[in-house]
């Protein structure tokens, strides 16, 4: 009987051990920090912008991507530069990232703010992010076309690229909206 109880305890521990481990979120930037990182010399104000049905439809048609959040988080400067705080689906959790767009509608830079995936830390590296600089809403923004894939993190690189494509279409709809 004693052995049987020990067996049950050990079986329970074996099953529950993995569930007892907690994983710390990998947060690399706050919103303030990421805005300063992309546009260091300017002052920005944050705001939420709600997309209308017509805007959602237009963005989805032009980008080919579904709009999951109708409320858009933006930081705007008086000169017309905008930073979008957005998220896309990762393998396990959302990937939060920022897209800085200058007043001419070109991507100034992107930054990954929160990343909790098993592989694919390379999406945070400057070499990969640099590919987005200068892109506009008329660029294809497709992995293996104008954006390189990251082997072992194809889902992350594909979803981030699609996210930037959607944000560039969102920019056209919200740049003059307050």
């Amino acid at each position: 009987m004693r052995n049987r109880n020990l067996e049950l305890i050990m079986l329970g521990l074996t099953v529950t051990t993995p569930l007892s481990i907690t994983v710390k979120a990998e947060v690399y930037f706050s919103e303030d920090q990421v805005v300063k990182s992309i546009f260091p010399d300017e002052t920005f104000q944050s705001q939420w912008i709600e997309l209308t049905d017509a805007e959602v439809k237009s963005i989805e048609e032009k980008s080919g991507e579904r709009v999951r959040d109708r409320k858009v988080r933006v930081w705007k400067s008086s000169s017309g530069n905008i930073v979008f705080i957005d998220r896309v689906i990762g393998k396990h959790d959302y990937i939060t990232y920022a897209v800085g767009i200058n007043k001419t509608g070109k991507v100034a830079q992107i930054e990954v703010m929160e990343y909790r995936e098993t592989y694919g830390e390379d999406v945070r590296k400057p070499l990969w992010r640099q590919q987005f600089v200068g892109k506009t809403d008329s660029d294809p923004l497709k992995v293996n076309h104008d954006i390189k894939n990251i082997s072992g993190a194809t889902l992350s690189s594909t979803h981030l690229t699609a996210g930037v494509r959607r944000i560039l279409q969102t920019y056209e709809n919200v740049k003059t909206k307050s």
């Binding site: 052995n3 049987r4 020990l6 067996e7 050990m10 079986l11 521990l13 074996t14 099953v15 051990t17 993995p18 569930l19 481990i21 994983v23 990998e26 579904r66 896309v88 689906i89 393998k91 396990h92 959790d93 959302y94 909790r116 995936e117 098993t118 592989y119 992995v143 293996n144 894939n149 082997s151 072992g152 993190a153 194809t154 889902l155 594909t158 979803h159």
Partner: protein, 299 residues
């Protein structure tokens, strides 16, 4: 110390060692029985443990706890290789021998190593970049103990799989289908025999919450005597739910797979003179219930 205690104790030690030493990330099995086309990135190692409980025969008490320890390595981003050690704890009490139901298996209560396997997976198409994911899989295996009966036997087999995967809704829904063929050559008590196992497995899983997935798997296993498609020995269907939890550091998957339909249902006259049968299931080479817990971490 009971025999059942030893493998569990070993298993617990392995689990504790891996989890508490803060090893980094893991590749993931989203299903218990079904394979997807994911591979381990080049240069990464993974430890994976597969625990399968099988129980429920038409007569007597039968329980098998199969323990598979695996080390996997990403040779390239598309090609993964691994080695397994297969073992089982088997408990039998007044259970018929599925190969000859007129005789009972010896009553057993013990753990032993069954054999080793090597696994090679090559991904041809990625579900994230191509219209469909496609992978080819081969697993040569040699065993000195039958995982079903616990009897000494020399088995050589090669399992081949074609794995297809399609994702939907921004990869929140994963669907997969596998076709498996496994020719097997067996030597027991000086007698040689050959069989062919065929299996079709399919399923879907959906990310219901960050880190959590839930879905269904369906599996049909068939066996052909003498590798002759006209000589089907049995067929069994299994259907059940799966739950997967995955993080940056580790993952675990649980699948419960009861048999829902099988044939033949009448296996013959048992050692005590009664007919060995079940109204709906094939309980010769299979059981009423299978449950599988997998977990993995990268080394």
């Amino acid at each position: 110390m009971g025999l059942f205690l030893r493998p569990l104790f070993l298993q617990f030690l392995i689990s504790a060692t891996f989890f508490f030493s803060s090893l980094c990330f893991a590749d993931e099995a989203m299903f218990g029985y079904l394979y997807t086309t994911d591979t381990l990135p080049q240069g990464h190692w993974e430890y994976e443990q597969v625990n399968t409980l099988r129980t429920g025969k038409a007569q007597g008490n039968y329980l098998s706890f199969d323990l598979r320890n695996e080390i996997e390595y990403g040779i390239t981003n598309e090609f993964t290789g691994s080695v397994y050690v297969n073992s089982s704890y088997i408990f039998t009490d007044n259970v018929y021998n599925p190969e000859m139901v007129s005789m009972n298996l010896p009553n057993q209560n013990g753990y032993n190593v069954n054999g080793v396997s090597f696994e090679f997976k090559y991904r041809v198409l990625s579900p994230y970049l191509d219209p469909i994911g496609l992978m080819f899989y081969a697993e040569p295996e040699i065993s000195t103990r039958d995982a079903m009966t616990g009897l000494d036997v020399i088995e050589r087999a090669v399992e081949f799989r074609i794995i297809a995967q399609e994702n939907f809704f921004d990869d929140l829904l994963i669907t997969s289908a596998n076709i498996m063929a496994e020719p097997e050559w067996e030597f027991e008590d000086g007698m040689a025999s050959k069989e062919l196992w065929m299996e079709f497995t399919t399923g879907a899983t959906y990310r219901v919450h960050p880190n959590w997935w839930a879905g269904l798997e369906i599996r049909n296993h068939r066996e052909f005597t003498d590798m002759d498609f006209g000589n089907q020995e049995h067929s069994a269907f299994f259907l059940g739910p799966n739950v997967h939890y995955g993080t940056q550091k580790w993952w675990a998957t649980l699948t419960i797979l009861p048999q829902i339909f099988g044939e033949p249902r009448i296996l013959g006259i048992g050692a005590n003179g009664s007919v060995i049968q079940d109204p709906n299931l094939h309980l010769g080479q299979h059981e009423k219930l299978e449950a599988r817990l997998k977990f993995g971490v990268n080394i």
